[in-house]
Symmetry: C2
Subunit: 260 residues, 2 copies
């Protein structure tokens, strides 16, 4: 009985970790502002999966393979974005196949989907389009029902599109299949004090709440400035208690705290 209980407790406390791999020269050249990371990060937070690292790499075969292989053993899940279209610079799936040591091959289910998608204009199902049906052998499809775009899951690696709307649809679709961790709860207190005024008291609170993550984020808006103080943790009561202490600290320092 005790063993069973301790297993349940372990399960509830289990950390599920993730990494994001953003693939694309356009992000590293500054041509495109990435917005996929924030979307995935928020989605993972909601289900208690801890995003531990994100990387942006160029469209270079060796670099992508090395990053996939480094990250997939480090974290429970990896999400890649970009490089799964029909053009020569879309090399993500080929690289993932290489990383897993399996062939990059025509996926029969994806092929059927594409044939159905192009059914009224089958002459346009050219070798370039077919590239989107090539995947690491053994991969599972992740479909965006609206655009018809196909992503893939290869073991713990989810290969998603780069276009934000399509990436989001794919991510929302796969999200329920992920193992959940105990969600992180966060409470944020916004105030008009500068960080240096609050730093000492905040550190004392952090020290008293060592199992929680107390963060301080300065902001400037329209000539005004202040600080957002955020407590994150897995125990709701602890988070509330720490946030309450921060609230009181701000008031005692003559500031105006507000929940955020």
């Amino acid at each position: 009985m005790r063993n069973k209980l301790s297993m349940i407790v372990r399960e509830a406390e289990k950390i599920v970790s993730a990494g994001v791999l953003i693939i694309g020269n356009e992000i590293l050249s500054g041509r495109t502002q990435d917005v996929n990371l924030a979307y995935i990060a928020k989605g993972l937070s909601e289900i208690g999966v801890l995003l531990r690292e994100a990387r942006v790499v160029p469209d270079v075969t060796d670099v992508i393979i090395a990053a996939v292989n480094e990250l997939r053993v480090k974290f429970d899940y990896i999400f890649t974005t970009g490089g799964i279209g029909p053009t020569h610079d879309d090399i993500t799936l080929k690289c993932v196949a290489h990383a897993f040591g399996v062939p990059w091959t025509l996926h029969s289910e994806a092929h059927s989907l594409l044939k159905n998608w192009y059914r009224d204009e089958l002459d346009q199902l050219n070798p370039a389009s077919l590239r989107m049906a090539r995947a690491p052998e053994g991969a599972i499809l992740i479909i965006d029902p609206i655009s018809g775009a196909i992503g893939y899951r290869m073991e713990n690696v989810f290969v998603l599109a780069g276009i934000p709307r399509i990436m989001q649809a794919m991510f929302d679709h796969l999200k329920p299949s992920l193992e959940r961790g105990r969600p992180l709860i966060s409470r944020s207190v916004r105030c008009n004090l500068p960080e240096d005024a609050i730093a000492q008291g905040l550190e004392e609170i952090q020290n008293r709440y060592a199992d929680f993550d107390v963060g301080s984020y300065p902001w400037m808006e329209g000539g005004k400035f202040g600080t957002s103080l955020v407590v994150r943790g897995r125990d709701p009561q602890g988070v509330e208690a720490a946030a309450k202490e921060i609230f009181v600290l701000v008031e005692n320092l003559g500031g105006h705290p507000a929940p955020e």
Copy 2:
């Protein structure tokens, strides 16, 4: 004479590389949308410095130290953002000191600046504020003249603020001190064709222009879709010639190309 000429040529062709290290739980939790990477990426492109990788890591000492040490030997320059304020979670400079194996110590020049900054309210120059004057021994200041915020350069590692406006001021300030590479020139052709229609012809152009980077970026805007085709390279004439070929390719396929 030949040697001197070849040295000049090598100099002009020299690749100057960079990495970006974004430090902060708030980015990995999805609380904050990073905009610093795109700003640095654009700025580096302008001066021909090749941004090869970006990483986002949490406020965890060991992870930051490992990332700094991995990236600083891999690339000519590293730019970190975030974690240089006065609160307990601002650990970037301490980590950089550790990565270089030097003390994290009060920087006399930074200390003087802070004393001057706080001159009318010296009682507010508390231990928390002084944290911002602590840096790896031997670091050089990078100052944002508007906010008075202090960043640091430690050898090839530039430690910048996380708040975008301050980060931008620091980056603009240090940019002229960077070694320049031969800038990448880019030409972009926007068209109303889907990627799969243009993929084959585009790959042929890429193969003929092997020294250049031909990229294809699909877009969707207000129900319309199409593709941006981008040529990047160091030889302006080659870039123009490849872009011209792409223009003609799009026209031959019945599409409407436009310079972007």
